[in-house]
Symmetry: C2
Subunit: 237 residues, 2 copies
DNA sequence: TGAACACTAGCCGTTTATGGCGAGGTCACC
DNA sequence: GGTGACCTCGCCATAAACGGCTAGTGTTCA
């Protein structure tokens, strides 16, 4: 099994188009013996898109009705770190329950697992499997494949990054230490007075840093500068 | 080897204190046969901290001189998705070269690899190994252990999340569509007037969105709200 | 059916940020 | 030995953000 997974990861790395990647993702259905496989990516500027084996009817319905607004799998995704079984989500509320029934109708299955993946520039992906089986079977499946799911999610995301030219390390701009300090503290919620106090410099001096950082980043104001610096990985809060 | 890794991952999951985790991390030195192992975590509000096997002298020197400001490993970390060899970084500039020599002196080694890990609330971790060997040996080492490094990084981060009670699914902060719009536009550099115009609502109404978003996010001001929303993946610019 | 929440809107006063003017120091690098 | 990048400080005026007040609609849900 291990070698099968290694071979798969290599295949992912060698994909040159999203179409090929789609084929490879679809091929996972046979590897895992599950109903469906989905890789859904949200990169920072572009449109979100999905590589999925779902029936066209269900996919269209999902899209048209904007079901991601009520889909518990999607709604909780941003809060999760580890892969999570869909059974662990809250399906009590009415829209969620209706969604579940519709998804069953759409051939998704009664079980599922999703792997959240986060990239450097706010990119976010969700790699999911869905199936029809009992809770025990699914739980067994998950504990067996957990690590592989993590790795596949990572490699898929990496492949997409390469295809979208997002893997280039662009040396955007470099901020001086003080500029970094200033933006970090402002991003952390301090006003200029507090930040200056924290850095033990005059408020005016702080302003100089903010403005030079703004200039370097081509930002219109402080908020913009902080947002750009975060997006470029220059600061983190 | 596989079973050894599985056993290790289980040990990580069973740690009840950071001290135990530190022991386990240190134990990786024997598994991988490398000079040093480091797990460095930056969670959004709290203090950053490290579990490292470095000599106290070097750790102290690093801390005192704020070497993370010039450490290429750290500086490029936020832009990376895949594990990266330290050799792939740019060491041309003078401060970086001096840092490299000092690190060698500090017993770090001439080779290294770092695995970036991102969590749901803007948390960021770096799991690194460092060693002394030739480029070819290190390259071989990396291609052999790559997947395991990814998994270990993930499990370490997960363990820290559990120990810090960060794994609880807090009644998720969800922003309304309008709140999201507001923060996104402000993060993109518009002032309130422009953003309101763009959304075709009154400036006051926009303010209501900003303030409710601020309240939800526990942010002190607009800049803070945008930064937090970005860190949590709620918006992207 | 009432509570909770999203969306919409205005006014007033205070605080904070920004834009523009100035100055002087260290340090590295060519 | 100059050039540029970085760090430090002050004053003045305007623009913008913030805090607090009130008030209506519509939807959703218990």
């Amino acid at each position: 099994m291990l070698s099968q997974m290694e071979a798969f990861l290599e295949r992912v790395e060698q994909c040159n188009t999203l179409g090929e990647l789609n084929q490879v993702v679809a091929g996972l259905r046979d590897v895992f013996q599950v109903n469906h496989v989905v890789y859904h990516s949200v990169n920072s500027d572009g449109e979100p898109y999905a590589l999925a084996t779902y029936d066209a009817d269900w996919a269209e319905h999902y899209e048209k009705e904007e079901l991601y607004r009520i889909d518990p799998v999607v709604l909780s995704a941003f809060q999760r770190f580890n892969p999570y079984s869909w059974k662990s989500l809250s399906w009590e509320k009415k829209p969620a329950r209706r969604f579940f029934l519709e998804a069953m109708d759409g051939g998704v299955g009664n079980q599922g697992v999703s792997v959240p993946i986060r990239g450097p520039h706010g990119e976010f992906s969700l790699f999911s499997l869905s199936h029809t089986c009992s809770d025990e079977e699914w739980s067994k499946f998950l504990s067996h494949w957990m690590s592989d799911l993590l790795l596949i999610g990572h490699y898929l995301h990496s492949a997409v990054r390469v295809l979208e030219n997002m893997d280039e390390i662009t040396e955007y701009v470099s901020l001086s230490p003080r500029e970094t300090d200033a933006l970090r503290l402002l991003g952390a919620g301090m006003n200029r007075g507090r930040a200056a106090e924290f850095l033990k410099i005059s408020e005016h001096t702080l302003r100089v840093y903010i403005e030079s950082a703004r200039f370097k980043l081509g930002a219109a104001n402080t908020t913009h500068a902080v947002a750009k610096a975060m997006a470029q990985g220059l600061i983190s809060i």
